[in-house]
Amino acid sequence: MNGVARFVKMVTFWELLKGMAITSRFLAKPKVTELYPDVRPVLPYRTKGRLHVEIGTCISCRMCEKACPEGCIKVFQPSKEVFKTDKRPVEFYLSQEHCLHCGLCVDACPTGSIHHSQEFEMAVYNPDDLLFDKETLPYDLDLKHFRWNWIENAPVKK
């Protein structure tokens, strides 16, 4: 009996047809392709995009510079006299070209001045464009592109 069943299975291509049924089921289902430039992706809050530095709250402690495994951050402290009153760095360089987006600098920062933004479109024609300085580092979060994701985010880190 078992042999008969096996023979019937062999000549009826049952399992091959089953596979075809599975593929055909997806014919009518909604597609998963993301139409990226037309439909902006929805990014969760914790996305590690380009590094964003609030120069105003930075105290030039250089913790991020020490934490960075790739050495892509360079902070220039102001002179001693200025530092007593104004701790903001005179210059802050960030080479996005080498950034691993590992988040170690964010961990290290005592004031929360450096954090990952949600900007992810970092393709440039010229590698030099990936070198950011004090003026170019902060950017305005263009909120109209980013809806909050289905995962509501955890409270903002202080």
């Binding site: 596979g19 914790r46 590992c102 988040g103 170690l104 961990d107 289905w150 995962i151």
Partner: protein, 380 residues
Amino acid sequence: MTAEQQAEKVSPLREIMETREVELNLGPQHPATHGVYRALVKLDGERVLGMESIIGYLHRGIEKWAEYRNWTQATPIFDRLDYVGAVLNCHGYVGAVEKLLGVEVPKKAQYIRVVLDELQRIASHLVWLGTHGLDIGAQSVLFYAIREREAIMDLFEAMLGQRLLPNAYPIGGVRFDFPKGWVEVCRRLLDVLPQRIDEYEGLLTGNRIWRQRTIGVGVISAKDAIALSLSGPTLRGSGVNFDVRKAIPYSSYEDFDFEIPLGQNGDVFDRYLCRVREMRQSLRIIRQALDGMPEGELRGKVSKIIRPPAGEAYFTIEAAKGQLGFYIVSDGGDKPYRVHVKSPSFVNLQGIETMCKGNLIADVVAVIGSLDIVLGEVDR
């Protein structure tokens, strides 16, 4: 009759028509080698007489790299070993440093690590399933598998901030708790995935073409597998019950109830079945971990600058590909003196010659697929 005996028996026809073996370079740029792996295959027609693995095309000096960074800075680079199982690699390194430091990881952090590890294992297996299917010609499985992996990657992005190489764990625990709503989404995924795995099995497991291509191909016996020190599903496909999660439990794996799927014949099909079943077991583990999530600290007591005492530690976990070991030596400084990685892909790759000999070229492709090698881990 072996090739040597055939060569000895000289027939008159053979004297006139002397045949030569063809040496074929499979790779380094080849669609089926899963990276820049080169196999020098000696062929008689399409039959493989001998095979030589040539590796090193993706050598990036990761181990040396780590010696020039301090202990914390070295974590992100180990994500890049096995780039489809980054969280697991990170766990391996971080676990080794914690062992050397003697840090107690809080229970909650351990559970979170288990959830993420198992998700990563499923993601890694899904990539393997897709590419393995594609190697043997089943196209759609790749896209279905990548689609499901995408959902897992979304979970990673929400939890860890990145999709592929998230630098998941700091030394001593985890960074954050799950974000709000994450657990519900994860549970929804856990409900969907078994049906999806059923679909893959419907496309492949029963399919007569798939069975003909995989059953009895690339056989390696349990004895050979142990002798070559294979690990992971590649070893378990031969019927050897060894899983680091059971044998040397780490990160509270002893709390969970799961089975180790075993094969019998050690052929490509058994390794395939092992991995597919392992995905189901991983789902079980994640569910248990989410259900039994304890409350508590996220991170153990670790100073900001890590200086482990002089000494050495070996810590091993069950990565998606097999046993991943980190042997670290400290001279008491803030940088590792030596980090050695026992990477499963590199070890498993040794079995390829035993498996491929006497098979056809098409089988070599199937065998490479079934070993699930990632060249980033082979060359380091």
